[in-house]
Symmetry: C2
Subunit: 216 residues, 2 copies
């Protein structure tokens, strides 16, 4: 099936959004925790977290245009800190529920049944149930002129991970804690890490890593 | 296990890269096709494709700093067009192989065994074996001052998808064609779409969509 730009422009907006949101592939699923100016905990699911770089350790979050109230954005701008919490199989329905239009003074933690937790005196709430908790400080933002979205950058200040995830080379075996991926606006997928491939070299098709702990 | 920013800064760079590249979750896997100025087809795997917005239909690609030769970046800047091709299970080793340091005048299509194909007269090569083929035109770029990476935006001009993927609401059932996700720099995961949840509302935990074709 072939779809031109002109076909896309003529599609009903929900149909186009359905297509566009799945076209680029699987996305990560993360809960962003923050405090409102009046101290209410806030939690929101995002599928637009981007690994921006390792040194300095930077994450990016793409926000939709500020045409309606965006609590997470406002909170981060006001307080300068936020948390990123991986969504695992056991909490994906609660995670999805955070997308509902709760009132500004309502906490998505209370409303969805997830538990706010804290690491040291880091000034934003983490999700107790999440196997990967990341505390970030606001760094900067890049307004995207083409459509009004905003790419916000955060620097990683603190990380807490379930020990079962950590491999000997520093990478995380996400499937050990059933971390999920999202598909479009409503789909949830459980990936299984089926292979790890050796560093690619010109001369031959890459082989699977085949030594014990590195395999998966 | 707790890791502070100071722990991160002290880690050996490969260990830190292993951690940082898996910390944000699963990423999409796409092959970017382009033409060099001298007409050689180029193909490179990227896990940094971002859905930037649906109207206008925009995708983003995060490029690492231009401290070494980056053929894909140079080609797109020179020619203005590129293709995005989903990686499915049957081609993930060939896709990974495109990351090898081939010479500028060598085509990754020829070297990895993937097949270049064309849609109408769109001026960049697609991957015949891919179930989702997207043709994009260069729009703009945002240099990220914190680390020298570059966010490049492309507008979708043409899409060709295998019919089996399309659901009645416009979204794509990526698992019907075994589209894969990546984990870090070397991991490949096969996700199964296990659920779709209804639009989130404040009053109750979201239910699964339960009517036929919408389910998955």
């Amino acid at each position: 099936m072939k779809i031109t730009r002109s076909d896309l422009d003529k599609m009903p907006s929900r149909y186009r959004a359905g297509l566009m949101n799945t076209l680029s592939g699987y996305k990560p699923a993360n809960l962003i925790g923050s405090f409102s100016e009046s101290g209410v905990t806030n939690l929101a699911i995002f599928n637009s977290l981007i690994h921006m770089g390792s040194q300095p350790p930077l994450l990016g979050l793409l926000f939709r245009p500020l045409t309606v109230r965006r609590d997470t954005y406002a909170n981060i701008k006001a307080n300068g800190y936020f948390t990123v919490n991986a969504v695992s199989l056991s909490i994906y329905k609660e995670a999805h529920h955070t997308a509902a239009k709760f009132e500004e003074e309502e906490s998505e933690f209370e409303k969805t049944g997830l538990t706010a937790s804290y690491i040291g005196n880091f000034p934003a709430p983490f999700v107790e149930e999440s196997p990967i908790k990341i505390g970030c400080s606001y760094q900067s933002e890049y307004p995207i002129k083409e459509n009004g979205t905003i790419l916000m950058l955060g620097a990683i200040e603190i990380v807490e991970i379930n020990d079962s995830l950590l491999r000997t080379d520093g990478s995380l075996a996400l499937d050990k804690e059933q971390v999920i991926a999202t598909v479009g606006l409503d789909g949830y997928a459980l990936p299984e890490i089926m292979d790890r491939l050796e560093y690619a070299q010109p001369g031959h098709k890459p082989n699977s890593m085949n030594h014990g702990t590195q395999k998966k």
